[in-house]
Symmetry: C2
Subunit: 502 residues, 2 copies
């Protein structure tokens, strides 16, 4: 039993974390100047440290989150897989986006000097941990991994839902940093609401990443944007993740869809940012019983924190009190915060914004549409989401095309005959979407391309070879993939040679 | 003589421009769904239309800006070169950043479904034209070219400094759009302060790009960030563009540096965003006479607009009135707004923020440092810039390394033994920098990578082949460079085959 008492970080300690973080990349003399291979090694060392302590971490997290140690052991594995994938991305080197244009003496606008562009680390990054993934979106989660991969020091604001897990994870990350010889200030953890506010407004912090509630995210976004020197704020806020079922799919696979939907809604007790909050079904779908039966089979589970529980209760009260909404199914759990399924007319969704706003927890709304036009119209009115799913049959090609064309402008990930929950960490993953899903629709918080949030381009003009970073030098000792004089040159060799300086 | 009277665009007309722009990408049925080759063709058609009218455009712009028709003809050429380069970038296809991960049945976190990521157009883009480049950063300038290359409709807010040039350019762009069969709403132009405010707050506008004054840019940034659905705002505001001269360089090439500096400061009458506003010289440099002589040789020229002229006058008054600042050189022109060179101690620059804030027009400040430590300290305190230059000698390697390491975290472009003015349009160009140079330090407003500002990633999960965009289909009929299952695959063939759907 870990009985560590976690206290809020004092303003003076927050200040010293930020100062140390700035020191860790002063004059690019430290972390940012490490050879790529060493940076990748740090990510792998953190992964190894977490893996070696996976079972203890999962037990500790279970006492704070009640998510179950099976799920939590799996989440540690997902977290360390992500750290290792990002280490591979650092080794690959394409993420530096090197472009070289040798000088041209051409006439007119085509004339240019020697120009060499690459991406450099943006500087110290603030990471706000989420409640619902105490590892994968927390202290050593995707944002931290991406920032370290970019070469940025990180100041993490712990989520109050799992303070001791956060503290223990931070100790392990710090141990890995020390073993790897990372500069003081490469990583630090702060606790408390006020500490979080101080970090995002600290002048040394150059970017912030957040996963959490729309209210908290909006407040931090406003602080970041109204600084004397605004910084990019990558917030993942609330997402409704609609699922569209064509008449043919409802007819062909109705009960399978009903069961799959309820599983997706109640996975992790509905506390995933990808939980589907809207299911569009054709009127007369005849699936009420199948949905209700699936809901009744869901085992009850406690919510992550009292705040989330309160928020869920008021959310379902608002939905239940909306004109035209009726309760379709409920399964009363022992804690009085049970799964809930509501039903309404598709045309009402756009009229009542509450119905397309995230309600964090095990609830969802079935929206019944009369015809294809109403379905497309409803889809066009649903706010931005992290993910959206289309269930259709091969004969639905025309309707599917229209749905996909609409949906892909309103969701960061479009799923076919599947469910929004489940975000794989791969090269091609995008976990983002238009507001209010995120505050920065052109970026992702999961996967290799998440690193781009913490990199700034710099172009070196006419710099003599001995003073150029290796990444942009002519001899390409790092073997990087680069665009040279307009032509793409793939990485040299199958593996990068030992780099000396990135 | 063009005596067109330009009036402010009414709110109703602004509304209809935004509605039409949204219509031009509804359900991705139009502009965004064009084959890449057709999109590239539109960019080339706009370029051809401008080239065919270059001399008339330059004459008209000269009546509004007095920049001289030689410079203006050259600027049209630069503008059309940029449009054609971006057409090549569209043909190249790498800008779609396609990543494909075939499904994996691996155990644990490595398991994943079929995932295919690409970048799609963000939607209608607002472009705020600049005063000082009536072509290259105006109606058909870099931001418009980048947005069209991304597949986004554009609503341009004209700069009041050259309304008739803007109107005429817009007519030519519209003619090219019509000839190319572009949907209604692909391009429109609005005039007036209130129209500009309405556009950035219109819910259909998905991103905004701006080049102009810090005050105007800050106001629009605040509007964009405080919308109910904030949108990315890419503002290029004010930049000080410092130049650092080592003692050895000052000794070896002092008069050459003095002359080059004054030329750079007064090019375009100092009305370039890359004008160097600070020159760091070692104390006792002995270049006062060379600098004063160079200033006296500068021919006087009128400012672009009365507002800019007023701003310059109050700017130099503030600088002249700063403690420790003295006038080094002045060359009185006929209009009473002459070039001005001031001098101060390097240590005072950080103490008086006015000295490191842009003063738009032909003035600059020489900052004298006592030793290398003071130079590095001063460099670390200069705010973010679009560009910075280092003048050094081969023997300066240690000092050069320190300077470059500091400067590259505070400027988007680092120049060796050259001057910040002159921004070539090439693959490797980066025209951006930390606040206050821009509101979005991770992006550029010039060159191929500027397109990325107007693209959002989407991942398709498990979508059947017939419904996938060609760009992410297995057979790669577009011949795009793509990353497949973690490995980079270069473009197939030397040219892309005729695409059927992007």
């Amino acid at each position: 039993m870990d009985d560590t008492v976690i206290t809020e970080t004092s303003p003076a300690d927050v200040e010293s974390c930020c100062r140390a973080a700035a020191g860790a990349c002063a004059e690019l003399a430290d972390l940012a100047a490490w050879p790529l291979a060493r940076r990748a090694g740090l990510l792998r060392a953190v992964a190894a440290m977490l893996d070696a302590n996976a079972s203890d971490l999962a037990s500790l997290a279970d006492t704070e989150t009640a998510l179950g140690s099976g799920r939590l052991v799996g989440e540690v594995a997902r977290t360390t897989w992500q750290l290792r994938l990002l280490a591979d991305v650092v080794d690959d080197g394409a993420f530096l986006e090197v472009i070289i244009d040798h000088p041209s003496a051409a006439e007119g606008p085509q004339a240019h000097p020697d120009l060499r562009r690459m991406l450099l680390p943006i500087g110290p990054v603030a990471v706000y941990a989420a409640s619902n993934f105490p590892f994968a979106f927390s202290v050593a989660g995707g944002d931290t991994a991406a920032a370290l991969a970019a070469g940025c020091p990180v100041v993490v604001k712990a989520h109050p839902g799992h303070p001791r897990t956060s503290q223990r994870t931070a100790e392990l990350v710090l141990a890995a940093c020390r073993d790897a010889g990372a500069p003081e200030g490469t990583f630090s953890l702060v606790h408390g609401f006020e500490a979080g506010r101080l970090v995002v407004t600290d002048q040394r912090i150059r970017a912030a990443a957040f996963t959490g509630s729309p209210r908290g995210g909006q407040a931090l976004f406003d602080l970041a944007s109204s600084r004397p020197d605004p910084i990019p704020f990558y917030g993942e806020l609330g997402s409704i993740n609609p699922v569209y079922v064509t008449p043919a799919a409802a007819a062909a696979r109705g009960s399978e869809i009903a069961a799959g939907f309820v599983t997706s809604v109640t996975l992790g007790n509905g506390q995933f940012c990808t939980k589907p909050g809207l299911l569009f079904l054709p009127s007369g779908h005849g699936l009420d019983d199948a949905l209700a039966e699936a809901v009744r089979r869901v085992p009850s589970a406690p919510m992550l924190t009292p705040d989330i529980s309160d928020g869920f209760r008021s959310g379902i009260e608002e939905i239940a009190g909306t004109d035209g909404v009726r309760l379709l199914a409920a399964a009363d759990g022992p804690d009085g915060r049970p799964p809930r399924l509501y039903v309404t007319a598709a045309a009402d969704v756009a009229r009542h914004p509450r119905l397309s706003r995230e309600c964090f927890g095990p609830s969802s709304v079935v929206a019944e549409y009369r015809d294809e036009e109403e379905l497309i119209e409803a889809a066009a009115a649903v706010p931005g989401s992290l993910a959206a799913a289309v269930h259709a049959e091969p004969g639905d090609e025309k309707l599917s095309r229209r749905l996909l064309a609409t949906v892909r402008t309103r969701a960061g990930r479009v799923i076919w005959n599947g469910w929004p929950t489940g975000v794989a960490v791969t090269w091609a993953m995008h976990h983002g979407g238009p507001w209010p899903a995120t505050t920065a629709s052109i970026h992702t918080s999961v996967g290799p391309t998440a690193i781009r949030r913490f990199q700034v381009p710099v172009t070196f003009q006419g710099i003599p070879a001995p003073l150029l970073p290796d990444a942009v030098a002519d001899d390409n000792v790092l073997g990087l993939p680069r665009r040279v004089d307009g032509q793409f040159q793939p990485a040299r060799g199958t593996a990068n040679p030992a780099p000396t300086n990135a």
